[in-house]
């Protein structure tokens, strides 16, 4: 695979940040040791040891002269640990130290010990390593040569100081009930009780299919396919309600973050933020980007009227479910023709 010189995304693949050793009292809640959480909030200070492994060939491809062993590299590129904790209002950089003994011809190894006083930290802390240009170099097309430009960054690691609580209440129950306010409707989102009501006056066959509890088989396939556009619409309605809640303090110029909403609005708005702002590095950044977009009246209109209908569709399984039901129908048809 060819490397696009100077593009940060390529260098990212060559940087691997790890927690070195275990942190007493934590458990792994993410994939591959990405996220750790204390089981109980720690009361005494503790250290976190980090190690950063950099693939030399990939990082060197971000340099105009490609020389990763040169003095110019040593004097102008610095490896830093970037940390951010929104709930603690703390964010900053700490320089990583090169471990010459552990580095070899293929990889540079950097290490760092960070001390944490839990009294000063809340929620979670996100960490990532960044390769930072500390001195400007001669401009060359396709390369990040400006001072303070980020040549590459590792994937993020997260540590929950306050024990991680999995989100709850993010699912809505579906019930058959009365819908009096409009005639000829199939379903309604009952925002007060947070349930999806299926109209008990709709055709019985439709009710039977939509409320069938089979896990597999044709009926289940048909139910899932018929239900998915309803899921898409309900998600859009929830997203609009979430935006309304986020804008409740608009008159004070304050847009509430998705992370401050209650479920199910929190999950819906966060999912929208992830899709809409996928180029942001962290969940907090994604939420913040959504806040920024809702803050601007033009961007807000674009999000609500153009992006939202597409995002809720892409969050759904409509394509694969329609594919499944189409196959079932065609197979059934072919068999009856035989």
């Amino acid at each position: 695979m060819a490397i696009n010189f100077g593009f940060k995304e390529e260098a990212d693949t060559g940087m691997e940040l790890s927690f070195l050793g275990s942190i007493k009292g934590t458990e792994n809640i993410g994939k591959d040791g990405t996220i750790l959480s204390f089981k109980e909030r720690p009361e005494t200070p503790f250290d976190i040891n980090f190690t950063l492994k950099i693939a030399k060939d990939i990082l060197s491809s971000t340099l105009p002269d490609g020389d990763i062993e040169s003095n110019s590299f040593k004097n102008s590129i610095q490896m830093n640990l970037f940390y951010e904790s929104v709930a603690s209002r703390r964010r900053g950089l700490i320089k990583l130290i090169k471990d010459n003994k552990s580095s070899d011809s293929d990889f540079f190894i950097y290490t760092l010990k960070m001390s944490i006083d839990p009294a000063l930290w809340f929620g979670d802390i996100n960490f990532k390593a960044i390769a930072l240009r500390t001195k400007e170099c001669l401009a060359k097309e396709g390369f990040n040569t400006e001072k303070h430009s980020i040549l590459g960054s590792s994937t993020e690691k997260r540590l929950y100081i306050d024990p991680f609580c999995p989100p709850s209440g993010g699912q809505l129950d579906v019930k058959i009930g009365e819908i009096d306010d409009y005639s000829g409707v199939l379903y309604k989102l009952d925002k007060e009780n947070l349930v999806v009501l299926l109209n008990n006056k709709s055709p019985k066959l439709v009710q039977q299919i939509l409320s069938c509890e089979n896990k597999t088989g044709k009926k289940a396939t048909l139910r899932d396919a018929l239900f998915e556009p309803i899921v898409i619409d309900i998600t859009e309605q929830l997203a609009r309600e979430a935006f309304k809640l986020m804008l409740a303090n608009e008159e004070d110029n304050h847009i509430i973050s998705p992370s401050d909403l209650d479920e199910p609005y929190k999950s819906v708005a966060s999912d929208i933020a992830k899709q809409l702002c996928s180029d942001s590095d962290s969940e907090d950044e994604m939420n913040q980007s959504l806040v920024d977009k809702l803050y601007d009246p033009d961007d807000r209109q674009e999000v609500i009227n153009e992006a939202l209908p597409m995002i809720v569709q892409s969050l759904s399984k409509v394509e694969s479910l329609y594919n499944s039901i189409t196959k079932v129908i065609l197979e059934t048809q072919e068999r009856s023709n035989d």
Binding site: R89, R91, G92, L120, H148, D252, N253, H254
Partner: protein, 223 residues
């Protein structure tokens, strides 16, 4: 003087009784330091009936008074960045100010009013709570030699306050100071533009590593 406290758990909307009242069974924990909000209350009493200025016009004065009341109280960052402390201050100590500042009708509480006493957890969480929004900027800015002027300019335009408070960059206190300095003489639109410019550049450039002058140069380019 009163013994400082915090809520045992961070309260949410459902923990409040009607009228934004803290439920009688809300558990609090005592700190080992005391606080005195008399100066804050006295100033509040002196301005609350004045009609010539809006509550927002007194943000700078309240911010300074609050800072001076708390900075030598024995409280540390562990309390200043703990929303459970600010919830206790807002709901138990300075509730009348919170209601007055946002013109809240406690018989007709709107959904937006809860955050004024409860704060939030996101990037702008501390700027939502009526009291922490006064303290945190003062704590960061008043250490500067021109701290008074910076704090005044921060509260001068509400949109400026919110744009800065809601920027993830401003979580870094040094960047916070640099942004306030860079936008000191800008109007609302220019401020929003400057902060948007920094936000737009942050994925490719490390703003946290920049000096105050470098941040100003970047923010003010083409303004």
């Amino acid at each position: 003087m009163i013994k400082a406290k915090r809520l045992k758990k961070k309260l949410t909307k459902s923990d409040l009784d009607p009228g934004l009242v803290m439920a009688a069974n809300a558990n609090t924990l005592d700190y080992d330091f005391s606080v005195n909000f008399d100066k804050f209350r006295n100033f509040f009493d002196s301005v609350k009936t004045q009609k010539d200025l809006k509550p927002a016009d007194y943000d700078f004065e309240f911010s300074k008074i609050l800072y001076n009341s708390l900075v030598n109280s024995g409280a540390t960052d562990a309390e200043f960045y703990d929303m459970r402390f600010w919830q206790w201050v807002s709901l138990d100590q300075l509730f009348e100010y919170c209601v007055w500042r946002w013109n809240i009708d406690i018989n007709d509480v709107k959904s937006s009013h809860y955050a004024k006493v409860l704060g939030g957890g996101g990037v702008g969480g501390f700027s939502l709570n009526s009291i922490s929004r006064l303290f945190i900027p003062a704590k960061i800015l008043l250490k500067e030699s021109d701290g008074d002027a910076l704090l005044k300019s921060f509260f001068n335009i509400q949109q400026k306050e919110q744009s800065i408070s809601q920027s993830t960059l401003a979580i870094n206190s040094s960047v916070f100071i640099s942004i306030v300095k860079a936008t000191e003489n800008l109007n609302t639109n220019q401020t929003v533009k400057a902060i948007s410019r920094l936000n737009a550049r942050k994925s490719g450039m490390c703003i946290d590593a920049m000096t105050s002058e470098e941040i100003a140069d970047l923010a003010l380019e083409n303004i």
